[in-house]
């Protein structure tokens, strides 16, 4: 089931686990993924563990910048940051920093449920006024778009297999809470195995 009813709006919207599965169904070998703390880390883990994932359990606001450092260090790989609206808002200035650097191998994708899901589903700024693709464009992203349906997801999935330009995507998802899938929490181990998996040490 790709869509569920959003609890706040009663609209049928993309379901987060179906969305992550669709995005990474044909994950290419060269795609490194940095999720944000909380739900997007669980979403990624729900697909099965992978050493090319750098799960976050903290560092709120830092996901996109970790993606930038990684993308600049590894022009031979592609990097997808897949984070939540709350996490992105805390590091919103990083969109300006990233747009200035414009690495061709970085995608910033926000799973926008318009809420702080992890902490009890309080409304976030995107529920009212903040339009994240507009913010990204205002920060200098020349490519920033919305994904709201299955068609959009499959286009984005295709893009992840071979993009060659920095882009920002907001995936509009329902504010539902699937059961947590908890991956490895040991930071040193996450770091070491990630570096080993990509031949960085």
């Amino acid at each position: 089931m790709d869509q569920v009813k959003d609890h706040a709006t009663d609209e049928a919207m993309l379901e987060r686990r179906a969305a992550i599965a669709a995005l990474l169904a044909r994950r290419p070998d060269d795609l490194l993924v940095v999720p944000g703390l909380g739900s997007t880390t669980y979403d990624l883990a729900s697909l099965g563990d992978d050493e090319r994932n750098f799960y976050l359990w903290g560092a709120m606001g830092g996901a996109a910048m970790i993606g930038l450092g990684l993308a600049l260090a590894r022009p031979d790989r592609r990097v997808a940051v897949i984070t939540g609206d709350g996490e992105m808002l805390m590091g919103i200035g990083s969109l300006a920093t990233i747009a200035l650097q414009a690495p061709k191998n970085l995608a910033v994708i926000v799973f926008d449920n318009r809420h702080y899901g992890e902490t009890g589903m309080q409304e976030s700024h995107t529920a009212r006024a903040v339009d994240l693709p507009a913010v990204a464009r205002g920060c200098g992203f020349s490519c920033a778009f919305d994904v709201a349906d299955a068609r959009g997801l499959s286009d984005l999935a295709a893009q992840l297999t071979g993009f060659s330009e920095l882009f920002f995507a907001r995936v509009r998802i329902a504010a539902n809470e699937p059961p947590r899938v908890l991956p490895l929490r040991d930071g040193v181990e996450l770091k070491k195995r990630f570096r080993r998996a990509i031949g960085a040490g």
Binding site: A59, G62, M65, I66, L68, G69, A73, G93
Partner: protein, 172 residues
Amino acid sequence: MTESAWPDRLFETIKRADIRQVGYVPDAGHARLIERCKADPAIRDVVLTTEEEGIALSAGAWLGGQRAILLMQSSGVGNCINMLSLTRICRFPLVMFVTMRGEWEEFNPWQVPMGSIVRPSLELCEADVKRVTRADDVVPTAQAAFQKAYGSDSIVAVLLAQELIGRKQWTK
């Protein structure tokens, strides 16, 4: 060597340490070093909107196999505290160069509250804090910082004292 050449000597030390990304929020005390980094095609200079971005940037760089440093003034240290959890829990190596304000011949009292707690704040974050007051000590201290950080996967902060940088000109 003249006193004023320490930023150039520090730049050479950074090059020898194979630093490939330099994150910074500008500070007058770092102006020359930033200029040198920007002019070097082998170094990616990343201007940040807030210093904590640099902590995450350097973690990402290391995940990809590159070394990054951070340049900031003392007030920026306060912006980094929670993000340093990432560095600590994963034991990412990190060297930061902090130009001090609020400690010596400071005209602006608003620099004092953060400047006065830079060392204890960083030490609470498990950083080794090394302070430099003389130009001749900049290079050996930086070398020791790189060796320690990359040799033991830890955080080293080099504080560049206000005596070293000189008095800020308030009227032109």
